[in-house]
Amino acid sequence: MKIKVIIACCLALLLYNKAVATTLKIAYDTDPVSLDPHEQLSESTLQFSHLVFDPLLRWNKNGQFEARLATKWERLDSHTMRFFLRKNVVFSTGNTFSSKDVAYTIERLKKSPDFRAMFDTIDKVTMVDEYTIDVHTTYTNPLLLNIMTYVFPIDKAFYQGKDQIIKYGETFASRNVSGTGPYILDNRELGSWMELTRNPNYWDKNSKGNADKIILTPIRTDSTRLAALLSGDVDFIFPVSPIDIERAKKVSGIQLVTLPSTRILLLHMNQNRRKEFQDVRVRKAINLAINQALIVDKILKGYATPAGQLSSDRFLGHINGLEPEYDVEKALELMKEAGYEKGFRISMMAPNNRYMSDEKVAQAISAMLSRIGITVELKTLPKAQYFKEYDNRSADMMMLGWQSDTMDSNNLFEFIIACPDTNTGMGAYNASEYCRPEIDADIRQANREMNPERRLRLLQQIEWKIYNDSAVVPLYWQSLTWAAKDGVNIKDIVNDQNYPHIGDLFIEE
C-alpha cells in the first residue's frame, strides 16, 4: 500500500514537472530595432517576424517552399498568381485572419522604404473571397513566390489608421504587435531582453514546438555569447564564431549545427579609382593570388565554402566545378605581362564588426597580395562608419558581403555587378564601378524570364562573364552555426537563411 502511495506521488511529481512551464533562453547577436515587421529589412526583424507572425509560405530546410498561412497557390496567367488562405486562424488580439489582412499587409509593404524595392514588382492585390487572393505583377516575375516569403500578414483591424512607418520615431506599430505566430510578445526592453509566451490558440496543431516561454537576450561579443551557453545561462545561441566551434564541440551536453549559407563575401576592385584595375590581367592576377581555401581553412576554421563565383550552389546561376584558383606563379606572370612587375600600392577598406572574422580575412588578403608586389594599405572600420565610406567608394579595394533577399542569383547581379545607375538603383553596391551593358541586358531579361531552363542558361551566362572578366574577387560563402544544450532539437528548425523556426522547436525533458 505504502509503495503504491509513493509511486503515485512520484507519478504526480513527474506529471507536475511536465506541467511546469518550459522556458527557453536564447542569446543572439542583435535584437530587432522595432516591433514593426516592415520598418527594417534586416535579419533580426525577420527572425522576430517568424516568432510573432507567420509568413504565407516559407523555405524549408531543403530549399523547398512550405505552405503556412497560404495553403496552396496556383498561377492563373503570366501576371497573376492565386493564393488560397488558411481558415480558422486568429491574431493574438482575437481578430480572425482573412484575405483583407493579406491585401493590407502587401499594400503596407509597398509603402515601406526597406521592402519597397522588392515589392515594386507587385501591381495590385485583389480579394476573390474571404480566403482567396490574387496577386498581380507589373511584368512576368519568376521570383514572385520567393518574394511572398516576406509577407507576414499583420492584423488589419489592429493596425489600420495608425500604421505609419517612421524610421526614427516612435510609432504605434513599433511598440504594439498583433500576429498569428506561435509566440506572443509579453514584454521587452530594447537592447536587453525580450520575453514571449506560447500562443495557446496557435493554428498549427502539428507544430512540435513546446517551449512555453522564450527569453531572448542580445549578446554582441561572440565569446561572451558562447560563455553564456557553456555556463548554462542560456539554452540556445546563434551565431557561433568559427574560432570557438572546435572548443565548444568538446564540451559535453552541447550540440552544434552548421549549415552552409548563401551569403557571399567578395572584394571590389575600383576601376575608376585605379587604372591598373582596368586591365583584366591585373584583376585575374589578384584573383589568383588570393587563396580562398586557405582563408576558409585557417581563419574560418573550415566553416565556410571557398567561392570561385557569386552564386552559391542553392542558386540557379551556380556553375558546378567553377572553383577558386590559386596560383602565385601565374599571377606574377600576369602582373609582368601587364607591366606591373614592380607592383603598386593600393588602399583597401573592410568592416571589422559586420561579418564573421572580417578584419582578420582582410589582413590575410593584404598579406597575400603583397606576394605579387601589391602593397595594401588596409583600414578596418566599424560597420556604421564603413558603409558611409563604402557609399563614397573611399578605397581602391573594398569588402562586401551580400545575402540575396530573393534567394536568387539575379539579386546579387543587380546590386553588385550591374552598371551603377542612380535612377534605377541598379549597381548600388557595385564598388568596382565595373560596367558591361550586355550583362545589364541579361539581368533585365532574367528578371522576366519564366522558363526555368532559359533562365538558368541566362544566369549562368552572366556568371561566366563575370568569371572570365575577373570583375570581382569572390571569397567564400559564410556558414552559419547554431549551438544549444542537448535536448533542444535545433537541427530540425534551423535553415540556411538564419531564420530559425523557433515556433517548431521541440525541447526534450
Binding site: Q40, K167, G191, T224, A227, S231, P382, Q385, A428
Partner: protein, 326 residues
C-alpha cells in the same frame, strides 16, 4: 563663504558649457546614423531626404542652438536606436551602474581598510610585506585582464557564476529595478563587482596605508600613546578616523577612474549599465545618446566635485586659504 560658493557654482556652469559644446560637436561626426536605420537597398535620395528631416544637413551653430535650447529643458535629444528621449534611456541604465559601483566600493572598503591598517601599523610584518607585494602586482594587472581571467576561471572552467548580464531584477519601492534583492541578480553581480573591486583595491590599500602612517606620526597620536590609551583604540578609533577624511577626498577624485573602469567592466560582462550603453551607442552611431551620456557623466562629475569642495571648504577653512590666499 557666499562668494566662495558662487565662484564654485560659476565654475561648474562654465565646465558644463564646455562639456556640452564638446559633446555636441561629435553629434554628426560619429559616422552616418542614417546608414544604420535603413536597409542596403534604399536609394541615396531617400537617405538624403531622411537626413533633411532629421536636421542633419543644417549648419553647426543652428544645430547647437537647437541642442542647447533643448538641453536646458532637460531634452538631450532622442536616441536614434531606442526612439526614446536620450536622458530617459540613460537614467534607465543608471541603477545598474550604480549598483555595480556600489558593490565594488563596498567590497573595497571591507577588504582594503583592514589590509591598509595592518600594513601601516606593522610594516615589517611578513603579512604586510606580502600584502604590499600583492598590491603592487594588483596595481600592475590591467582591469580588463582581471575581468577576462574572472570569466575564464569562474564562469567557463568552474562554472560557478554567470558571465554576462544582470539576471533577474525586482522592483524596489517602485523606484528602480534592482538586482540586489534576489539570488539570481546577486550571482550575476558577483564577477563584475569583484573585478572592479580587485582593480580598485590596491589603490586604496596603499592610500590607507600611507595616510595611516602619516597620522601615526602626528603629535596627537603620540599624545594618545602617552595618555596610555589601548593600542586598539588608538589605531581603529583615533588614527583611522583621521585617515578616512583624506582617503575619502582622494577617493572622490578616483570617481573618474571608477567611471572609466565601469566602462571596461561593463563591456566585458555585458552589464546593462551606462558604460555598456555608451560603447554600444558609439558603435551604433547613436550620436544623441553619446552626447547625452557625456553630458550626464560630466554633470555628475561637476556636481560631486563641487559638493566635495564645498564640504571640504566648510569643515576645513585652511583649504580656502591654501588655494585662494596666495
Amino acid at each position: 563663504m557666499l562668494i566662495f560658493l558662487l565662484r564654485r557654482l560659476l565654475q561648474a556652469c562654465f565646465v558644463m558649457i564646455i562639456i556640452s559644446l564638446i559633446s555636441f560637436s561629435i553629434q554628426d561626426k560619429l559616422g552616418d546614423p542614417v546608414q544604420q536605420m535603413v536597409a542596403m537597398t534604399v536609394s541615396p535620395e531617400e537617405r538624403n531626404q531622411l537626413r533633411n528631416e532629421l536636421g542633419l544637413n543644417d549648419g553647426f551653430l543652428i544645430q547647437y542652438w537647437r541642442f542647447a535650447k533643448g538641453a536646458i529643458q532637460g531634452d538631450l535629444g532622442t536616441s536614434y536606436y531606442y526612439k526614446e528621449p536620450a536622458l530617459d534611456v540613460i537614467l534607465e541604465k543608471l541603477p545598474a551602474t550604480l549598483e555595480l559601483a556600489f558593490c565594488a566600493i563596498l567590497i573595497v572598503i571591507l577588504i582594503a581598510t583592514p589590509c591598509g591598517v595592518m600594513a601601516a601599523i606593522k610594516p615589517k610584518h611578513i603579512l604586510s610585506r606580502l600584502l604590499m607585494v600583492t598590491s603592487s602586482i594588483g596595481l600592475s594587472v590591467p582591469i580588463f585582464i582581471v575581468a577576462i581571467l574572472m570569466v575564464y576561471i569562474f564562469s567557463i572552467e568552474l562554472n560557478i557564476a554567470p558571465s554576462f548580464g544582470r539576471g533577474q531584477t525586482t522592483e524596489v519601492l517602485g523606484l528602480w529595478e534592482s538586482g540586489l534583492f534576489n539570488k539570481n541578480g546577486l550571482s550575476h553581480l558577483l564577477l563584475p563587482s569583484l573585478s572592479l573591486a580587485i582593480a580598485l583595491m590596491p589603490i586604496f590599500v596603499r592610500l590607507i596605508r600611507a595616510e595611516m602612517m602619516d597620522v601615526l606620526q602626528s603629535e596627537y597620536i603620540r599624545f594618545a600613546w602617552s595618555k596610555g590609551l589601548s593600542a586598539r583604540r588608538i589605531y581603529f578609533i583615533h588614527a583611522l578616523k583621521n585617515t578616512m577624511l583624506p582617503v575619502i577626498t582622494v577617493g572622490g577624485i578616483q570617481a573618474g577612474t571608477l567611471v572609466a573602469y565601469t566602462i571596461l567592466t561593463e563591456t566585458i560582462f555585458q552589464w546593462p549599465g551606462m558604460g555598456f550603453l555608451f560603447m554600444d551607442s558609439v558603435s551604433r552611431v547613436d550620436t544623441p545618446l553619446v552626447s547625452a551620456y557625456l553630458i550626464v557623466v560630466g554633470g555628475i562629475f561637476v556636481i560631486t566635485n563641487t559638493f566635495v569642495d564645498l564640504i571640504y571648504g566648510l569643515f576645513n577653512p585652511t583649504v580656502r586659504l591654501a588655494s585662494h590666499g596666495l
